[in-house]
């Protein structure tokens, strides 16, 4: 579904991604972790072309992301993304947030889009908030709306740039619950997170990044059981005993 081959990216002379390769198969959940500044967010933003890269190739559902003839808006409409700061549109109600891309990008009729939006809102447990503005919701609620908004496009896969550390523990649980369910239903997911519980529970593989490189790409049990690299061991001991 998502295949990343030898991707490198530079900001001027500074290399943010170095020769990154990994693969996410249909229905697979892959967690990407690593210290801050390791390039995790940048890597998943390359997957839907939000960040350009200078060499290598990323192919999503047989479409080359960096290809000269690629219709990026069309590709992006099929790849769901949830941002670190949620990025709900603050001038629209929750319902409008859920409808706008369905009608404007996919051309769905307003009542059809509304039905879909409300169903998803119910699914993330926020039906009562449809007419509120994002600023009136808690961080965890906003993040669930952001997930619903991405799902409203019927994506073939989901990218999560998730820094749940911005949320308090109770909220982390309500968000993770939604994500675990999504994973169990077979959604293909690439998740940047520090939530190792989530990784343990649903991830098929864990990709560990450091300084723009993929240092370790292992099955979840192997990664937690016996990480090969020293950097991953240090990272794990720090984050698990935190």
């Amino acid at each position: 579904m998502i295949s990343i081959r030898r991707v490198s990216k530079f900001y001027g002379d500074f290399q943010v991604l170095a020769d990154c390769s990994t693969e996410v198969k249909k229905g697979e959940v892959v967690v990407i972790c690593g210290p801050s500044g390791s390039g995790k967010s940048t890597l998943i933003k390359c997957v839907n072309g939000l960040e350009p890269f200078q060499s290598g190739e990323i192919v999503v559902d047989d479409v080359s992301v960096g290809g000269p003839k690629t219709d990026l808006p069309k590709l992006r409409s099929r790849v769901g993304m949830v941002f670190q700061h949620f990025e709900l549109f603050p001038h629209m109600t929750i319902a409008e947030n859920l409808i706008i891309a369905q009608t404007r990008v996919l051309g769905r009729r307003p009542n059809e889009a509304m039905d879909k939006g409300l169903k998803l809102l119910e699914r993330v447990g926020l039906t009562a908030h449809a007419e509120k503005y994002p600023g009136e919701l808690s961080g965890g609620q906003q993040q669930r709306v952001a997930i619903a908004r991405a799902l409203s496009m019927n994506p073939i896969c989901m990218l999560f740039d998730e820094r749940t550390s911005a949320l308090d523990p109770e909220m982390i649980n309500e968000v993770l619950e939604v994500m675990v369910k999504l994973a169990q239903e077979g959604m293909t997911m690439m998740v940047v997170t520090h939530e190792m519980e989530f990784a343990r529970k649903v991830a098929r593989r864990v990709v560990f990044m450091d300084e723009g490189r993929i240092v370790e790409d292992a099955r979840t049990e192997e990664f937690f059981g016996a990480p090969r690299s020293e950097r991953a061991q240090q990272f794990l001991s720090k984050i698990l005993h935190h």
């Binding site: 409409s77 993304m81 891309a101």
Partner: protein, 225 residues
């Protein structure tokens, strides 16, 4: 001691009202055109496409570096010739109002462009990324996500600029166009009561503009609340 005599004002009120209508018309046209053209200029300047960005930057810097009176004079001299040539108007046709509107609109666009550019830049980059991630095009992201937020943030500034613009319309006196200030001047000149009429005109400008500024301040408090 100067003997004030206000008696010529009541009879002149209809004429002064006609002048006020011209002032308000020029303001309205210049604000609407200024915001539309200013938005386009701001988008060009932020587009990252060099020729467009240079054009917009040049336009803005040019108009911001020239006194408004001169721009107005140019337009009073150029627009009539232009309209005669293009529309076949008689040389005697009065195009002063159109000239004034065009002059103000093009001049104010430069100021509006800068306000709007700052407004667009005040919208977090993540909002654009979120719009793109949902499959929106650049145009959709601007129209549906960025500009509505930008205009909301900068509404007080846009209105304040409109108030300044309203005051500046008095500069059309260079073409002897009877806007509110021009009308007051004419009445005062006719009756030999220039001091009274100018004091009256000043009071009217003050009440209108101070009232409008106060309203903008209240609006600002509501928007930022």
């Amino acid at each position: 001691m100067y003997d004030f005599d206000w008696s010529s004002i009541p009879g002149a009120l209809p004429f002064l009202w006609e002048g006020m209508k011209i002032s308000l018309e020029i303001t309205l046209v210049a604000v609407i055109v200024g915001i539309l053209w200013g938005t386009l200029l701001a988008l060009m300047r932020l587009s990252g496409i060099s020729p467009l960005a240079y054009f917009a930057a040049g336009y803005v810097n040019l108009f911001r570096s020239i006194p408004l009176v001169m721009v107005l004079l140019w337009f009073f001299l150029i627009v009539p010739q232009f309209m005669q040539a293009v529309l076949g108007l008689a040389p005697t046709a009065d195009t002063r109002l159109v000239s004034a509107m065009m002059g103000f609109a093009l001049f104010e666009s430069a100021y509006y462009a800068e306000i709007i550019r700052a407004g667009i830049q005040s919208v977090p980059k993540g909002q654009v990324a979120a719009a793109y991630a949902l499959g929106m095009t650049y145009g959709q992201a601007m129209r549906l996500v960025v500009l509505p937020q930008a205009f909301r943030n900068m509404l007080p500034l846009l209105l304040t600029q409109a108030i300044i613009l309203f005051q500046d319309t008095s500069l059309v006196y260079v073409s002897a166009l009877a806007d509110f200030f021009g009308a007051a001047y004419k009445v005062g000149d006719r009756d030999g009561r220039l001091v009274e009429l100018l004091l009256f005109a000043g009071a009217v400008y003050f009440v209108l503009c101070y009232g409008a500024s106060y309203a903008v301040k209240r609006l600002q408090r509501r928007v930022s609340a």
